[in-house]
């Protein structure tokens, strides 16, 4: 899971829906595993497959026109359940970046903790990106974590995105929070004695 993150340039998979909740990203009946493997196969399961398990042709993941490791979604992505299985499904499918104008709090953190980068862009940028991808599915987007910029290569439009310095350091260097916390044992014990 720990993957160092730098600059990613890729085509995008567009999902122009708002309020995509984590029950849609991975339905509850697929949460019974006791490991992190295989969730990508059931990403967006009930939009992607019919009740007989046949691919639903007009869903974007079943459309060979679109591909790449960047998912572009409508605002309020990842609302609802805190299930980290949603982030495992996104990472397991092969996405490294999710671009949206707004993320639900817990899901955003879950993505970061699995080395998937949530990139918050303006509504305008998002709309233009959806339009550009609709016109040309081969549109490339560049996400530069060190510079904190996201660029629509078709139009040249670029935006700065926010990420705190600590988490950026973790992603760029492939470190996680547990490494940090375990190393702070003395501070925790000092706090407990207060």
């Amino acid at each position: 899971m720990k993957q160092k993150f730098n600059i990613i340039t890729s085509t995008c998979v567009p999902l122009p829906l708002e309020n995509v909740d984590t029950d849609q990203i991975i339905p509850a009946r697929f949460l019974k595993a006791t490991d992190k493997e295989g969730f990508g196969d059931n990403l967006f399961r009930d939009w992607r497959y019919d009740k007989n398990g046949e691919p639903i042709k007009d869903f974007v993941l079943n459309n060979p026109t679109y591909g790449g490791c960047i998912l572009v979604a409508g605002k309020n992505f990842g609302s609802g359940s805190s299930r980290e299985h949603a982030a495992w499904a996104i990472a397991g499918y092969g996405f490294r970046v999710v671009i949206s104008s707004f993320f639900a709090d817990i899901h955003k953190q879950n993505e970061l903790n699995n080395f998937v980068l949530p990139v918050v862009v303006s509504e305008d940028f998002l709309k233009e990106l959806f339009d550009t991808i609709a016109n040309d599915p081969k549109t490339l987007v560049e996400v530069d974590l060190p510079q904190q910029t996201v660029t629509n290569k078709a139009t040249g439009r670029q935006e700065h995105f926010e990420i705190n310095g600590y988490k950026k350091h973790c992603l760029v260097n492939g470190l996680d929070d547990i490494d940090f916390l375990v190393a702070s044992k003395d501070k925790i014990e000092a706090w407990e004695k207060k």
């Binding site: 122009p16 829906l17 708002e18 309020n19 909740d21 029950d23 849609q24 339905p27 509850a28 009946r29 949460l31 019974k32 595993a33 006791t34 490991d35 992190k36 009930d46 009740k51 409508g74 605002k75 309020n76 609302s79 609802g80 359940s81 805190s82 299930r83 980290e84 982030a87 707004f102 639900a104 709090d105 817990i106 953190q109 879950n110 903790n113 699995n114 705190n164 310095g165 600590y166 988490k167 996680d176 929070d177 547990i178 940090f180 916390l181 375990v182 702070s184 044992k185 501070k187 925790i188 706090w191 407990e192």
Partner: protein
């Protein structure tokens, strides 16, 4: 001048990470079987032990069947997940309330009722409805599995401090209007992302007059407005509820605790990042019509004629038309339970409507207590007899049809009036159509077979 949220948060800061999150000490971690196994695996892979095992409580609730809990779970995958929690708890030396233990139930029902969730605490669980425990006057929030592992490893979590919001509800709730209706009203006002990034303090006359059960319902649903958590400052209602509970302090420790808890108030001049004020007279019994909890209306109202970009897709899924009324529409299933409405007061409310009436023949009803404690109280108060006489049976405790990880699944296309917390597509089973409501609205539908204003039956 500080908000209560600031005071509890600040009291738990171990350190502020430079250009980063706060390292926050966590008083209580709850673990259920769905979001913990990968965290335990992570601990094993790193060769770590739980840093403060005595602060961690485990119990299965999502997969538990609501019948024959004394027998092994039929679904082998569910059984493995439940067994894995028990094995992990034993290996890591953690308290575990297994299936059939008198202490078992839904984590968010058990924590408060056992006195494990107390005012002033920081409380987390790998479950978004951890916000429930905020009703005790605690800072409680849902986390992911990586964060569960952080707390196991260090009893700490790294978090950016949320902004603060106060929601004040003035006035008196009308007849038949419950805490659930207040929450559904707030979601419709704020939308499902209106409180994202915030921690909400609920205040005002309506909240002060609410029972603990009502406050637990209200705080439970904070996440459905996008809020990280919601809480109510502790008061006599809180102390009265906690006194004598199994894990609550006793004797001298109790007096000392109450003296401290009484200080847990926002300062009169505290400044919130956002303030919202509502009036109880604007709230009637409510029901949702769409596929997120913010898509709701007063029960006598009509579905709006337009909505956001998901509106058409949602109505198509639900089989409803824009502009139509929901009153009188037939119902197939009724679900009373979940961490939202699986407490004793919810069963009392349901019984108050179905008493001396009969379950409608077209309705399948699942009545699922939130815990064995609730189940026993239902019997002790004779509510079980009232329900049985009306044609209902009471099942065994668990999360049940709220997310249908066990056998309690609503079939595709069927309508379920549900006291749970989410009406997302497929939440209660693939293709199931969920309408969220209070126990009173659920009960009115259960006896009439159609969506009914409960005020007509009270």
């Amino acid at each position: 001048m500080n908000t209560l949220f600031d005071k509890i948060w600040d009291a738990h800061v171990v350190q502020q990470v430079a250009d980063g999150p706060t390292q926050l000490y966590i008083d209580r971690l709850y673990c259920h079987e769905v979001t913990s196994p990968q965290a335990f695996d992570g601990m094993r892979a790193r060769g770590l032990k739980c840093f403060r095992p005595e602060r961690i409580y485990c119990m299965p609730d999502h997969n538990t069947p609501t019948h024959d809990q004394d027998k092994p779970i039929e679904d082998p995958v569910s059984r493995k997940q439940v067994d894995t929690l028990e094995r992990n708890a034993r290996e890591f030396g953690l308290s575990h309330f297994g299936m059939m233990s008198p202490k078992n139930g839904i984590i968010h029902v058990v924590g408060p009722e056992r006195g494990l969730s107390l005012p002033g605490m920081t409380i987390v669980c790998g479950d978004s409805h951890t916000s429930t425990h905020g009703a005790m006057g605690a800072v409680a929030f849902g986390i992911g599995t990586s964060e569960v592992e952080m707390v196991m490893a260090s009893q700490c979590i790294l978090q950016m401090k949320p902004k603060s919001m106060r929601i004040t509800i003035n006035g008196q709730l009308g007849k038949g209007v419950t805490a659930k209706d207040v929450a559904l009203y707030l979601m419709a006002q704020l939308t499902t992302s209106g409180a994202t990034g915030y921690f909400v303090e609920y205040a005002g006359e309506v909240v002060r007059n609410m029972s603990m059960e009502g406050r637990l319902t209200l705080c439970n649903l904070s996440i459905e407005m996008g809020a990280r958590g919601g809480f109510v400052a502790p008061d006599e209602t809180t102390f009265e509820y906690l006194k004598g509970r199994e894990y609550a302090p006793k004797g001298e420790a109790w007096d000392k605790a109450v003296a401290y808890w009484k200080t847990l108030q926002s300062d009169a001049t505290a400044i919130y990042d956002k303030e919202l004020i509502f009036d109880a007279k604007d709230i009637e019994p409510r029901v949702t019509y769409g596929t997120n909890p913010g898509m709701g209306i007063g029960i006598t109202e009509s579905i709006p004629s337009t909505g956001d970009s998901n509106f058409g897709k949602a109505l198509q899924y639900m089989g409803f038309e824009a502009g139509e009324k929901l009153l009188g529409k037939p119902v197939d299933y009724v679900f009373l339970g979940a961490c939202t409405n699986g407490r004793i007061e919810d069963f009392r409310a349901f019984a108050s409507i179905v008493k001396a009436r009969k379950k409608a023949d077209n309705v399948i009803a699942w009545l699922v207590p939130g815990s064995w404690e609730v189940s026993h109280q239902i019997k002790a108060e004779g509510i079980d007899e009232v329900l049985r006489a009306a044609g209902f049976e009471i099942r065994q405790p668990g999360c049940s049809a709220c997310l249908a990880m066990n056998d309690d699944k609503v079939p595709a296309g069927k309508y379920c009036l549900s006291t749970s917390n989410r009406n997302f597509e497929g939440r209660q089973g693939p293709g199931a159509r969920t309408l969220l409501c209070s126990p009173l609205v659920a009960a009115a539908a259960a006896v009439t077979g159609v969506i009914t204003d409960p005020r007509e039956l009270l």
